[in-house]
Symmetry: C2
Subunit: 360 residues, 2 copies
Amino acid sequence: MSESWKEKVSTPALVVDYDILQRNIKKMAEFTKNRGINLRPHVKTHKCPIIAHMQLAAGARGICVAKVSEAEVFAACGVNDILLANEVISPEKIQRVLNLNTFTRTMVIVDTKKNVEDLNQAASKRNVELEVLIDLNVGMDRSGVLPGDAALELAKLIEKSTHLKLHGLQAYEGHLMYIKDFDQKEAQTKACMKNVVETKELIEENGIDCNVITGGGTGTYNITGTYPGVTEIQPGSYIFQDHHYHSLVPDFDIALTVLTTVKNKPVKGIITLDMGLKAITIDKGNPEFKGYGRKVSLGALSEEHCQCTCSSKVELNIGDKIEAITAHICTTVNLYDFFHVIQNGEIIGIWDISARGMNV
Amino acid sequence: MSESWKEKVSTPALVVDYDILQRNIKKMAEFTKNRGINLRPHVKTHKCPIIAHMQLAAGARGICVAKVSEAEVFAACGVNDILLANEVISPEKIQRVLNLNTFTRTMVIVDTKKNVEDLNQAASKRNVELEVLIDLNVGMDRSGVLPGDAALELAKLIEKSTHLKLHGLQAYEGHLMYIKDFDQKEAQTKACMKNVVETKELIEENGIDCNVITGGGTGTYNITGTYPGVTEIQPGSYIFQDHHYHSLVPDFDIALTVLTTVKNKPVKGIITLDMGLKAITIDKGNPEFKGYGRKVSLGALSEEHCQCTCSSKVELNIGDKIEAITAHICTTVNLYDFFHVIQNGEIIGIWDISARGMNV
């Protein structure tokens, strides 16, 4: 395939392979369809309304977002089923969620009695009903109440709340995503989900409707997504993949790279690229270089540059453009304002990463 | 001082202490004025035109930027003396620099014969003169030619170029910024600058004007800035500081924090804050928490959360807001769209980080 598109892209730039993106979308949608569960992709990975709509068109039930500001972006772009997979505790943000609910189904998760009361009071004042899920701490110790009695207690409080409705249970097993050994990951994930399903049953035995169990990520989609009783999965990274996830979950291909230019060759054996910490993240490891294997490897990384050591067999000159594959797609995408979308060697789209940043 | 302003700020958010900011600006401006050298702050740290204008009003000669897109933002905001402290090699970006030069002095640095020829040809076609500096590799091996004969050769080529003018030498000793032992840092910085000054003399002995030596950063400002022959320094981080730089250069105070909220208390001894990898960077170390010393320390950091271990003496509840100090201010600021500016316990400004990202 012609690589002349590279000349047209000013670097550093995020580049999406449209065909691979479509394949990843289709594969995950078919996986969930075949198993009779819902797909609710986490859009924090791409932060791009066009891609969310592609996922919905392929069959996703709705989306997950990480924060109110993200929910606002996707609601404004016509997504009408949003799970805000985080506690919303400040009075101002609670009001913003209720605003969204006037035109877009927006659900939130809760893990304290106080938060249930605050949400109910705010919804009551505006005379609306808010759907909530109980956030379970299934081992990550980041948020949530413990499965079992603690969850039941919260469910009872929600049941008594005049303006809240329990939608189900949120169970994100984030601490298990990166376990290398599949059998070990499977055993631990199943142990988590067993507790969650039993908690759902406990709540239902107490006469409270609890229809949904939602959880899972790209690292566990085929474990959580096949566990009896789980009704929905929330994977994000599968859409683009990164080399860290790809080494663990090769079912989805790498659809996104960072295009970068050789800017300098200061000394023999070293090239400097225009890709630094403001163009690619290293929180899950160093980037790799597409087509170069071990022949080009990252050395120093500063804000706008990286220095790479090159084997003597590599012929790269100043001005040449190469593609880097990040070890963490979510934090890398968050640095950019748009994607360049490529198909058959042509640029077929420049897509806004509308929910980039959105820290409030 | 009242902390009621914290209630008004939706988190996570960047918070600037206006008085400390002003003190830092004034202190660096006075340092350079007292030594009879120019100050050209690197604005990649704050990416904020208001702050650049504060620096210029306090006496800075101009600014440094890292890339063409940043130059465009600051030029549009009325800054009229810009050093683009990076090679500009792509034809499209060269044209953009020449565009800026029609209304704003914009200088670039060069380190190859080919780039000198490309710049000259482009400037010639538009019949304008472009000022350039020779980029010296003083040990960082990121860019630049070696001091001495290689630089002289480039100077001669620039001298012969019909539409280029040599402004001086760029010598960034970035590899020395974080040396802990001051005497060692001083010795190595002086050794770098000796080579640079001798290169300037060599060029001048060959009948070529070379007026400027510019270099230095916050870590070396008082070494490079006092070395005889150096005419200009380019510090960036001093404006806000971070705890990494502050431990090495305590002359400037910490003016910027990330305000974050306690969102969850999942298990005893752990609090979860709404500040993750999309709100603070860790490329130079973990954040610290203002006023908490070792009593609150970072554990796991995910995209939108961090889990901190807390000593039993800490009384922090869900909804409480605390301030984090980053270990690397430049990459942290780059994640946000605006600063909240605080003085005497009041929010006195919401300032756009207009040049955030700007990856092209």
